[in-house]
Amino acid sequence: MRKFTFLLLSSVFLSMTVFAGGYQVRLQGNKQNGFGLVGTPLSVGSSAMFYNPGALGFMESKIDFEFGGSAILSTAAFQKAGSNYQAETDNPLGTPFYFYFAGKLGKLITLGLGVYTPYGNSAKWESDWAGKNLIQDISLTAIYVQPTIAFNFNEKFGVGLGFVYTIGGVELNKGLNYSGDAGVNLKGDATSFGYNVGIFFRPVENWSIGLNYRSEIIMSVEGGDATFTVPSSLQGVIPTNNKFNAELPLPANLDLGVAVQITEKFMLAVEFDWVFWSVYDTLSFTFEEAGDLLDSKNPRKYSNTFIPRLGMEYAFSEKFQIRGGAYYDTSPANDRYFTPETVTLNTFAYTLGLSWYPNEHFGLDLSFLQTFGLKSDKTYQPDNFGGTYQTSAIIPGLGLSFKF
């Protein structure tokens, strides 16, 4: 079995050249977190609402409640092209969290509510670093609230549909090339809608297949606050307090996964995720006042990505399971339009996890991920700013589950 696993891993890693990343955060369940973030072909409780609503009806208890979160400790390092200048981010702790509650209404129907955070980004460079005119710091959050209904037509087949309401916020600071530490702070909120649909299928015993589609959601900030710090002689041209509009897309995902219970204790799963990042072509800002001077269209030119994932679980008993997994996530960013606001590199990650159920109602899930961004030369051509970037992150997570 170990040999088989290794072969699968190496073929995956060698053949994949395209992948996701960007500002997506798929840490939405601590069981799945340890399992290579594979979730589509699993029915492990109410967290299926994010990974595959079609699997929600297959939860074993009548009522299932899960909540938890992760702590993302990430760093990006930068070596400027042609220079001995180096910089490193001092990113604040990223804290994706989730909360799922689901209950069965008879055999056919399961209802649930999920709250989770599948997109986010926080990067903090030093305010006087070499790329200060591109970005000093950014914080992007999106909270998804998803009422869900799932149907189990029989023991083999289920579908689920979630309606997604998104509450998002963004805040960023960047320098302006005027005297006296000039810069701009942009801060805005947005809400939007989308959906999440999935199919879960158990064709034969010990096999399960999941297919999930999460729709694209465009977050439109309207009337966000723009605060400009410029020399007083320019304040007639660049008003201190302004309003801005901008759009940030949260891309659609299509995930396909297969899980096999190879022995009574050992489960293996693979999943392939397509992330439709090409929607993120341009980041445009328009301003209420002084638009002629301030409006900007900033190319991002992201490409769609593909992520292969592998997950394994070994169950010592009903009460205790350990997990491991790995994935390779390619950067959606374009090499020539790569900005330090989102340092997204081709990334390899391994995952570990365990679950412990002291009794039939309560479970504790722990997970741990480590990601390794592959060192790469990138440039943001419109600003002629580039160099070598590398990233790494460690992500411990803790979740609790209750079932009745």
Binding site: L73, G82, A130, N177
Partner: protein
Amino acid sequence: MKTKYILYFAIVLFLAGSCKPVVDDFTPESGSADLTSYVAVGNSLTAGYADASLYASGQEYGFANILAQQFAYAGGNGTFKIPMMPTEDGVSPHLTPNGLYFTTKLVVGYSTDCIGNVSLAPVPAVPNPDQAKLGAELTTSVAADGPFNNIGVPGVKVGHLLAPGLGMLNPYYGRFAANPATDALIGEAAKVNPTFFSLWIGNNDVLGYASSGGTEDITPFDGPAGVGFAASYTAVLQSLLASADKGVIANIPDITSAAFFTTVPYNPIVLDDQAQVDLLNAAYAPYNGAMAQFGLPYRIEWKLGPNPMVIADLDMGIPVLALNIRQIESDEMVLLTIPQDSIKCAFWGTQKPIPDEYILTAKEINNVKNATWQFNKFIKESASDYGLAFADFNSLMKKVSSTGMVADGITFTNAFITGNLFSLDGIHLTPQGNAIVANFYIDAINSTYGANIPKVNVSDYPPAVLP
């Protein structure tokens, strides 16, 4: 067993916590150049002159000082002595009919014009400065602090580098020459036992002509060392190569694309009153009649809207001196130094012709371009003849003035003040402009000598200070 696994978990966490992303360190190398001791030879650009003056921080932000700091990563000895000015306000001498007059640097300030309009404009850092104080700051000798690595001297032409006694004529050299009455500027170079030099010279050989509106002469190409451009340039190079065996030389940008020449429009006379148009046309009717009589195509005509200014142009060669005037063409240039108030309130350009010294006529522009082309051809040939690195600032300037260029998110154009490249005098560089120039030199040196000298962050240098 559970506790065992939880313990493993904790160990992995602990080990992973020590992993940080690492980028490879840059490895500076001097290649086949020896950067131990660097001497910078040239004019105001090398001296760090900016904002129409030489002042302390301008000298420190000069490209030569930036280069010296970067050379220190690749074998440079870290010593780069500059004949520092004792003032941050700067001193600039001007020859006036009443003798020498000293001014300070320019800063951006609020200026009230003759009509009472207030606008942001370059104004003297110190209005009506204390002449005795500025005179002393400019002429007090700092020779005892030498020898100097930066021997750039504002105003020098290539022939001046060879001239004994230049210090008596040019106080910027006089203040650091050991024997101003007899020393030649080029002799300063050998004093620091240079292993590497930069030479950026020739700009004033054409700029003097251009910035005086064509009233000074362009240096002739031919002629003996000290007179002709070619022989002087070669003599300077040979003198430098007697001690340093490697260096970088730079050509002359097309100075007519500098903000100094491109900022003031040719047609700033805006007429919005038909009666005024008629009056002006009536006033110039005799002129137009005379031109018709001479069989010359010149006509001075006025209309509503923007009108080209009337300029004096002695090249017209009309025997009646007062008739050597005409309206300026759209491809001719007005110098940044033109007194704007005279246009607005003293009828310059309408009733009084703009004096020749503020205008670069099409013929003069052509002379500047031809001389620049000829000098640059010689400089490039010299670079290959002597195996020197060559910095093509003429091409860089073309790029900046046509498409602009960007570095670290900062856009550089030839626009005055907003273009970030030119300081408040419209022809010398801002600190960020100096950083661009230093990086451009580094590119040239790296590619010629197989060196790997680190470049600087342009964004580390300050933008124009605005109130």
